[in-house]
Amino acid sequence: MSVAFDEMTNADGSIRAAYTALSRWLSDVPPDVLDMRRKEAEFIFRRIGITFAVYGDSDAQERLIPFDIIPRILTGTEWRRLSRGLEQRVKALNLYLKDIYSRREILKAGVVPEDLVYQNPAFRPEMNGQKVPHDLYVHIAGIDVVRVDAETFYVLEDNARTPSGVSYMLENREIMMRLFPELFADNRVAPVENYTDELLATLKSLAPASSSSDPAVVVLTPGIYNSAYYEHSFLADKLGVELVEGRDLFVRNDIVYMRTTEGPRRVDVIYRRLDDDFLDPLAFRPDSALGVPGLMSAYNAGNVTLTNAVGTGVADDKAVYSYMPDIIRFYLGEEPLLKNVPTWRCREADHLKYVLDHLSELVVKEVHGSGGYGMLIGPRADKAQIELFRAKLKQDPTNFIAQPTLALSTCPTFVEEGIAPRHVDLRPFVLTGADKVRIVPGGLTRVALEAGSLVVNSSQGGGTKDTWVLEES
């Protein structure tokens, strides 16, 4: 593996333009001051209760995601290029979903194989021919992006179901502004705090035709034991809308109501942070106690908008991912602005053979996996792990894809031994409303805190950073 691209320091030791002011500041500030501010940040996070739960870890029911106080910086030019690519990608995702749940032109044209849709557990036949407002399915997308050199960004993953992490983008900025006001005087950082206003505008634009002029929006959470509960309550609070659980809602005559102290009140738009499976026990999993009986029938009647729409998972698994460049070309007639990581689909015999022959060089992922679970990182795995995956691959090849290990870019990070480069990725959030697409400049930067590690997932010990987009003036 080649030496990774560092976003602050060039190979010759010179500092990249975006980081000039930061680098000067880093060399001036004494390490104990940094350490003090880091502790202060942690204290604030814990007091505010910005925690997440790790499933299967009862001791650490509420953990903090480590926060790194050194920001990750992009120039305005880099950002504009990136955001054009993101917009293009989400547009294609929406067109793809509309097609899949109606005419299926793309399957007829043989661009995407049929079984990727029909055999896909996230495919929802209930959505066939179902009209959704403005033909939009993915209203809130989190597109994971990595960088490998000064010019190149790759999309690593599309998250079109219920992407999380935006509360960290917002809270990280708040904390940075509180701890390091002097840095914001030296750098012109584009604000992100308008995200929740943009989100509210997006959600309201998607209200069903039958709703009143001021549609009632709610955030639907699985409850306090969900790993992202903090984020759900944070968003509801900033949006100024009710945070509801399934039991707070009921359906009568295909209209959704919430139970309030003043009796039932109609609900028009549900920003749901609950998976399809759990939404409605009458339509999906009958054992779901988290959902709302009858919700799907209200949805089918067009009396409520669910964001994101039901069935978007058929567009964001890792097998479909590998077709995204073709999907973009098919619907938009444009070349993808953001690259895809080259991907071997183990479902295809020749790809599988290549993967099996090169397991020690590749990253192997489950098609439906997430959170960094159930993956093999070839170069870091021992023999036993590789053999285990070889067996898994042979047994169920369609369940896996493989990618080369990318040299993810690094950013200076404050760790035990001082300031050192660590690998990062980026999750910007793309909002698609009836009126327009909105992307606030920035996103969630995740950082692998262990030296050399490429796994940035918070469930696997990754941390986060504030992400800055610099305005030119």
């Binding site: 505010i48 306090i224 944070f234 009710e242 707070d248 919430m258 102290t261 003043e262």
Partner: protein, 314 residues
């Protein structure tokens, strides 16, 4: 507002108030139990602490008939098997607070969350007396901070009113139960009046509702049992008296009713309880029986809780 949110706010306030009351009960009991027997000190105090806290049954299920200081303290302060231990009160309060974070101000949340974090430092068995004293003042400070944060930072809307109603319903219940467990020492009994034996009991009742100083300001007399009863039941100046609690409950339930534009059964019951308190005189209460009077108050207060629940929280 969501019914579940109102329910959570109501119970959150109740649990914070209950924790405060438990801390006072423990405080006072320890004080009394340390007195020499001639001044009324006795080991029975720990038993009556359990009764006041309404936990005698649960205690028996865990510890049997043996009532010891250490066991009672652990049970009332920390025991996970006691649903109303101070620890559980804080735990439930925080769980409730997490699920209604959007309805709390940052200051309220921070109070609850930081106390819950701090509580973990105390959760040891067999505390020394000094540790216990520190713990009690921590609990009392927490409830003061929570109350103050709510009062100073919340919008005056239904969220505030529901949490106030919860607090006062709980407070009325606590005051009534303190009186009920100790009512025998308040009965006018010529043999004991002025004797040292009961003086400390009366003083301890006042102390448990932090009213010993107030008593002297209000009555400008030495502590007399009927005056103690008067202060805690009828005197509207006393913030923990039943009358004061019901003035507040009535007021906040009316605020809710006006806001929603509809009166209901809980408003009617609160008003009739307040009227009844207003028409009571201490002589009559003693005549008909202090115990009966308090007993029927506790029943009515519980009924109010159910009515609020039916009217708004389901």
């Amino acid at each position: 507002m969501l019914s579940r949110t109102a329910d959570n706010l109501y119970w959150l306030a109740r649990y914070m108030e209950r924790a405060d009351c438990l801390a006072r009960i423990l405080d006072v009991t320890q004080r009394l139990a340390q007195l020499p027997a001639a001044y009324g000190g006795s080991t029975n105090e720990w038993r009556s602490a359990l009764l006041t806290a309404g936990c005698a049954e649960q205690y028996k299920a865990v510890h049997g008939d043996e009532v010891t200081e250490q066991n009672v303290i652990n049970f009332l302060a920390f025991a996970p098997e006691n649903p109303s231990s101070i620890r559980n009160c804080f735990e439930i309060a925080r769980t409730n607070a997490r699920s209604v974070r959007t309805a709390l101000t940052m200051e309220m949340w921070e109070t609850i969350n930081s106390s819950w974090l701090e509580l973990k430092r105390y959760s040891t068995k067999n505390m020394t007396r000094e540790e216990l004293a520190r713990f009690m003042s921590f609990v009392k400070e927490t409830s003061l901070r929570f109350d103050g944060a709510a009062y100073r930072t919340m919008l005056r809307n239904d969220a505030f009113w529901f949490s106030r109603v919860g607090m006062y319903v709980e407070r009325a219940d606590n005051t009534a139960r303190i009186l009920d467990v100790k009512y025998h020492v308040l009965l006018p009994d010529s043999e004991h009046i002025g004797g040292p034996l009961d003086y400390f009991q009366w003083a301890s009742i006042l102390r448990s509702v932090s009213a010993l100083t107030s008593f002297h300001w209000v009555y400008r007399e030495s502590v007399k049992p009927w005056l103690v009863a008067d202060l805690l039941i009828l005197n509207a100046q006393m913030p923990r008296s039943l009358t004061s609690c019901y003035q507040n409950i009535t007021r906040y339930l009316d605020d809710i009713a006006n806001y929603y534009g509809r009166q209901g059964s809980s408003q009617r019951l609160a008003r009739s309880t307040l009227t009844r308190l207003g028409n009571s005189r201490m002589e009559d209460i003693f005549q008909t029986g202090l115990h009966e009077y308090i007993d029927s108050f506790v029943t009515e207060n519980n009924r109010l809780g159910s009515l609020v629940n039916e009217q708004y929280l389901l």
